[in-house]
Symmetry: C2
Subunit: 230 residues, 2 copies
Amino acid sequence: MQEHTSATSQPEEGAEKQAKGNAPLTARGEATRRRILDVAEEVFGEIGYYEASVSEITRRAKVAQGTFYIYFPTKRDIFAELVRDLSQQLRGALRQATAGSADRLETERRGFKSFFSFVASHRGLYRIVQEAERVAPEAAQEYYQGISQGYIRGLRSAMSEGTVRDMEPEPLAYALMGIGHFVALRYLIWPADSQEESAQIHDLPPEVFETLMSFIEQGLSQPAHKDTPK
Amino acid sequence: MQEHTSATSQPEEGAEKQAKGNAPLTARGEATRRRILDVAEEVFGEIGYYEASVSEITRRAKVAQGTFYIYFPTKRDIFAELVRDLSQQLRGALRQATAGSADRLETERRGFKSFFSFVASHRGLYRIVQEAERVAPEAAQEYYQGISQGYIRGLRSAMSEGTVRDMEPEPLAYALMGIGHFVALRYLIWPADSQEESAQIHDLPPEVFETLMSFIEQGLSQPAHKDTPK
């Protein structure tokens, strides 16, 4: 799992820093908005979109309801915005983790490690993105497409360098995302759900991680010469 | 994607054929229960667990509410039962599709084809299983674990025959399930969602399917001799 490292600034990041009225936020406004989003991640992750209320979010974030509505007109708006925010955070983590990798294999190793650690520290992520597929499908698709686009760029560039064999990059990107998603579900999300609220599972068992890496590495690499031609 | 072919009868199938009172169902009772489940798949898939009501299901299935409650005590019960039923249907389809495969590669090809065709003809499947992760988590885990167990058995047996190299079978099973899940999401579910209600996308583009198969085949197979030892 990886994110293409790019020096160009992303236009959506500028837009992110503005409140709904399109006025740029002050540093203090930015901090308030950030706090509301972090609390929303907690609330939506714990009790789900349908049960969650704006008043529960403002209570935990210690802001007035009037303040909340300056930043987010409706419950659905903050939910969709949270999904976008989580996507940006995850992509930022992947970019940072994979920058300066020596080769494609190292990029995959670092990217997957970073993804699993992001999932472990954002316990509500899966529930939020899954609910978004019904509540705010455009935000859910943006979430996955944002990740896939970076992945596709990275695979294309590894293919043109010859470190990954020529294949269709988009289905490959979704295949690799699917691997990360399901393995995290099995080894991070389910075990944490069945334990105490405070229990945290931070890492995959090493043999699980090595199995994935071995499968992915061999699947992506140029085929070695075989004795029997195909 | 595959399901282990087994000649032993599965105990849960016997249990399935009984109503809640543990009295075996008549053929007519079985048909009514089946019709209610099929309609429930339609209703939960279209409008979701929270919006769906027992009265909407009985109205569309043309049964009295009293009849419904003979089979399913609550909305949550029929929802959990539907998830188990879909899991059994999918595993049955995989078993049938992969029975008699010549080798592991053919098993994977037939299994993935069968999975994609099941997803295309059960448009509500993803939404239902995803909502189950919150509403009936035990049923959602059973759904995935039922599929993974067949997969693990199949991989182990291919490993002992030497057609798949030795790796940890469980993470590999989840990796392969993840590939199927995400590729179906990208190429079957999203395109269908964005089109007319009546539009059906039945198949992956062939180059997408071949990319997956090539990646999986090379990833699973015994490594060819390389010029440079590892």
